[in-house]
Symmetry: D5
Subunit: 126 residues, 10 copies
């Protein structure tokens, strides 16, 4: 069952602002209505706080196990996206976090959901 | 016959702003002049109001049936786009809504129509 | 309703063997079980008989109207493919005919069906 | 011979701002120096004035015939682009119009020309 | 648990030889060593026996449920491929069957496995 | 007006068999029914006879002018293909010639026509 | 030898601001260290001054010959880019000019260099 | 140092002929002349002997470690390809084995090397 | 071992602001946890200071050797990115520097890391 | 000036048949009529004789210099192709050699020329 406890973090390696993006193309959960599997890609993009401010980055292996924990969950697209945003924001307290889920679709309609935490950094806007 | 009554909505799951995109690549309607079928892709992109403000999201199955209701309608590209915008804006009262239709074209000319409701959110501009 | 009577033919313009391919990317019919629309691409590839043997080629506008007649038909993928093969083989009596239908899919599975009439010409095998 | 008289317009269907794009991939004119044919893609993108302000949209069939009228014209890339901009701006008096021509090129150099009329709408900038 | 009992068949609609291909891009099973999920695409391609000989085609919905039954199985790539081949060959007794699995890979190596039943039809070789 | 007199040939430079392919992506002619322009790609592929047997290759500039001569012709797809095949076969008397025309299509159907002269060389089959 | 004297200009055809892009995909010069050839794509993008202000556009054939004059020059990537920018800025005195060179690379590293003259026009920023 | 001892095999799971392909896109070795790294993709494609004849398949993790052992080897493209073919043929004694290496290239030339062991199976030729 | 001493610089050739991008698609280092190799693409994008201010550009061959020095380093993605940023910033003291690393990924997750030095130039934002 | 003397060969490393392909995407020569540069890709594909029969492979650096020697040659497409075939066949005396040149084209027509020496090996046909 997805839980923030599955997420481990490591200290940010620098005080300089930088941006990390993880793209997990092998995500699957279950439709809570039909029980049929949903497949999608989950993208995380975040700027950790500076090292001196206790900045944290999610550790990759724990992220993999966390994302795998959705495999047996019946959960809607929107809830997947907001849940991951909330769990990661709580774990890392980042300057900025974007979670994007991109679903293969059902019945001829495919969906993309984006949820954010914090302010888009100026350097990303450029 | 396309009608806002076909659109069902579910409550937005969060107070945090987030953006939903639905892409329906199997849209077809009829040319009102010739009766020949038109084919295209319909993209919806919207930010619901916060949950606490009664924010709503269109339900996917009702959206599919709503889009299928154009199958026997004789209607121009521009009217398809503005009609979907008006019906969805009325049903969801979203912060922002973009409807884009992308048509396969006739006589060597293909067309893309975009209609909006509300203000583009700052996070999308980034 | 799909009928071979919708197909008009014109005489083959030459005694030399040649191969014609028509690709209709805007095909739609209805699922006979659910009534939901199916979308696909229909490809015809054929070698007409020589002009001196009364060879015939399907006329393009009649082909378009014939394919449009499936729009309101409830019919399975396999039946669409074999029906088009039978109707065109009856109308043109070609040396060779291949009908391929390539469907956008449902429930995460997409399908391709191929039906043939006559022998593949040696020149195509090369 | 290209003339604004070939362009017919229909009333804009709405007071809401929206954006129309027509992409004609089968454009050809003649090089005024060599007489050899030039091939390119012509893209129009415009926001009509609101319906209540007498907003107009170019009618698609007249646009096709207008673009075909360049087939026998000896005219440079830049002149094609500016001529289409001037004729369409005169016919539709739009809020904004962009004309882009994208040429297949000669002698290893291909060219893209963009001409505009009016102000880019805020929603497009997003 | 994957079982041939999950596969339902319908009679082949014709005596003419034809070829059916189903492509399931949302397949997942579990690595029997590590328990981590594997993701891949499963392609079936087969020629049913003629209708008059009792030819059968796998029914699409039962195929979907059959493929979903691997979701909780710990099973190697090669066994997935040979198992599907054996189950489908037993269920349909086709003239020809090819099962191809195409895996996203692990540790920088991705794999493709192909298993067959019966003889490749002459028309496919062309 | 298209005529074999527009085609100039140069002697084949070698006795060794070799294969030449010319791909003209900027071909246009007129529909004889509607007068509207057709656009397509013309591919020639041929093996000239050996130099010592008087082998000939079509000269590129004359080929360009020959293909441009179709610009004002009202002529069907099939006739374009067979005419080019006949004119080039008469001019070069090659061992083998394939003419393929690939048309952008009308009304949602695009077409590919192939006409040949002589036998496909063994080396091409490989 | 590359020289601004090779560049001929023609008057800008209009007072309206517009943007011209020329893309030369067949550029080659020599590495000044090793003498080995470098290959790349040169893109020019500029807004000429208005016609009434004596605006000028580089003539295409002279541009081709100018770019060919680098074929025997030993010159670094950065110098190619800045030289072309300087020569074209001197010849056309444009409102804005961007020169981008995109090199196929050596030793596993490929490079892109951008040099500008003047201010990016507001319409391009949109 | 690359050695056949690094390759572990598991028994083939079936008596039916089937074909396995492993594609390693992250291969690197060293140029024996310059010491600079080479990068490429290594593809293995093989048909194991039947299970009852003691057929063997290379185990994936040992294959990964075996391919990594080339990381510090100074070795030419051709030798990499033939060495892998020889080591795998000795370890698996397969019915058929194809080793293909596809290199990113140096100095504007990229290379592909193919080495085989045994006879191409009839089913692959189809 | 990666060291700023491996980086040689040459004077910037101009006082005009310009932007240089180097893309190294053949980068490899080692995972400090498992010792397994990581593969990725390293992109540098920078604006040197003006020549008159002592602006410097990294020399390409020294950059290649510098990047190769990571081949035997056990180092995390984030540290690779920040280390290259720090070393290049120290060596060139550029107006702006962006280092982006794009990794092939492990366990179904691929990563992109971006680190910057200085302010994004206005011309790049356009 | 292109000469077989520029081509150096190394002994084939094995008695087993194998196939080598070199793809040079940065080839340029001059049009003998106009003096303008031609650009193309040259592909060599060959099977050397067995090592014990004195089999030879062209050495890569000498191949690069040989291909560069065409940079100042005025020579037609067909002659480039047949010359390279003749020079390489004389230098390596391979079992099989294919030379393919793929030209960027002029005046809207691009060309591909293929010349061979010896028999296509059975394994390649598969």
């Amino acid at each position: 069952m997805p839980s923030p406890n599955l997420l481990e973090c490591v200290p940010s390696p620098t005080d300089s602002p930088f941006i990390i993006e993880h793209i997990a193309e092998e995500f699957t959960s279950l439709c809570p209505k039909t029980g049929h599997p949903d497949f999608g890609t989950v993208t995380l993009r975040f700027q950790p706080r500076p090292a001196k401010a206790g900045g944290l980055c999610v550790e990759l292996k724990s992220l993999k196990l966390y994302l795998q924990s959705f495999r047996t969950e019946g959960i809607f697209y929107e809830a997947v996206t907001n849940t991951i945003r909330d769990h990661l924001a709580a774990a890392m307290k980042p300057e900025w976090l974007l979670v994007k889920t991109d679903w293969k679709g059902r019945g001829g309609i495919r969906s993309i959901i984006r949820a954010e935490f914090g302010e888009v950094p100026a350097s990303w806007r450029a």
